[in-house]
Amino acid sequence: MEPETRVSRTGQLVNEEESMPVSSVPPRVLFQRPLKENPRLSRPEEPRPAEKSVLRDLRMSTHAKIQRSERLFQSMLLIGGTFVLALFATVLGVCLVEAWPSIHRFGFSFLWTSTWNPHRQIFGAWTYIVGTFWVTGIALGFAIPIAILSSLFLSDYSPKWLVGGVSTLMEMLAGIPSIVFGAFGIIFVVPLLRDHIEPFLANTLGTRWEFFNGDNMGYGILAAGLVVGIMVIPLVATVTRDSLIMVPRETVEAAYALGSTKAETVFFVKLPAVVPGIIGSVILGFGRAIGETMAVLLLIGNQASIPSSIQDVGYTISSLLANTFTYAVIDPLYSAAEIELGLILLLISLVVNTLGRELLMKLMGGRLAGSVGGG
């Protein structure tokens, strides 16, 4: 390259935004409107009287003063943090002590024993663990795809005027008490299942797989799972939609610039980019679903049997506690067993949370490293 350039400008790295001579701007400028892009177009700074600097007076504020406010802040945080930890330790400690008779008596076999007989003083959690997982599984299996599809629709396909409305609706949905969802389940979902969906399932899939067959009662794990699913949808949908909106425009443009159609851009580029957000919201949704009590209690049928069909009734840990704990307290072993069930619920949530976090970390690993090393 031999052209004699008469370029006398700044070096190649200077961005337009950065080319403003920052160092020559007096500190006072912090309280003025920012300079125009071209410094030459803006008015020259008037010389300022030296004694009238509020900032400089403020800066005289001593080291000690800063330290004092730092310490105050730290001790406030410490109090808050300690309180939360103490609370958690107390709850856990009380539960462990109260559950001890059951833990001591049944050991690990408590987990896989499916007898639950207060009269014979034999307690096992298996039936309720299975019921809990059925409801949670059906709820998430129903909620996740619908939530993802609806947020893709909202972020990329729906007309603008719909977005605000549906978003408000979602937030309202998330705030409705679960007993209302339970009632809705009884007056709407149960009849719908009983009269239409369950007979349909029985006549189609049910002719080949017993799993879809049943007595078409409406109540059961399917009803409970679907209604809990409805409660989980807003959680997953809101987070997914927010992450979709936050996918950088540059990423989307890159997809289009490679000749992607809109559908390809949405499914192959935007969706993978929001997987971490979806996983996070699914963990939240799992927590909500596994602990849901009132709606499940109204819909699942409350029968201590292990479901063999999607139409069967069942029982979950939380609905059992809600139904029977008032009777259980008078019997030490009975109440110990119920509290141990509660601890199992806590343990499951803890494990799922931890696994989810691990997965997130693994997925986010590259991105985090990138934000440090990129430049």
Binding site: V7, A254, Y256, L258, A369
Partner: protein
Amino acid sequence: MDPASDTLVPKIVVKNFSAFYGSVQALHNVDFAICERKITAMIGPSGCGKSTFLRSLNRMNDFVPGFRVEGSVTLDGQELYAPSVNPVLIRQRVGMVFQKPNPFQMSIFENVAYGLRIQGVKSRSVLSDIVEKSLRAAALWDEVKDRLNGGAFSLSGGQQQRLCIARALAVEPEVILLDEPASALDPISTARIEELMQDLKDRYTIAIVTHNMQQAARVSDRTAFFLDGTLVEVNETTKIFTNPEDSRTEDYITGRFG
């Protein structure tokens, strides 16, 4: 420079082209040709319409609400803005590299393979071949060949930008548009990208927007100077930087404004 470069074959021809964002006119009656196997640089002060112009060449502005154009842009004689033209097909022929490196949240391999996959290439061996070829062409292969399954965001900024170039090359476009591709990079990465453009010139038609005039002078064969949405002057780079015809061009390259 190289003597054969005198034969100019127009690849993209722009005639009496105006562009509007709503009621604001960003480009005024631009007449311009981007020639085959040449590097055309576009310079001009910030906001003069360089990006608008570049993005009009592969219809990336279609996504801006209220954007519309007048006049004509043809690629090998085919009108880009004809109603019957599908912009997706245009963008497969006219690739683009952006100012900020914008890899996908995928592995290095999948980033480069993406464009091929959506065009229906399924064979793993074909994909591997093209991915390697593209990464080599983008001068990135040696740095990433042992970590193709690693995340794209673990690369440095300069590497990410070369990955984006490899990704654009993989779909075998005829024209590559670069919008200030080095402005976010350090000097060494910038130099690598400039070298890379020289290598690519034999096979591709390249248009680059830059606000760095030294870069335009170093890499390009032809330079166009834009000002306030009009094309002031376009000519051989040597001519623009030594003996421009328009006084405004001279003012700009000597740093008298901008």
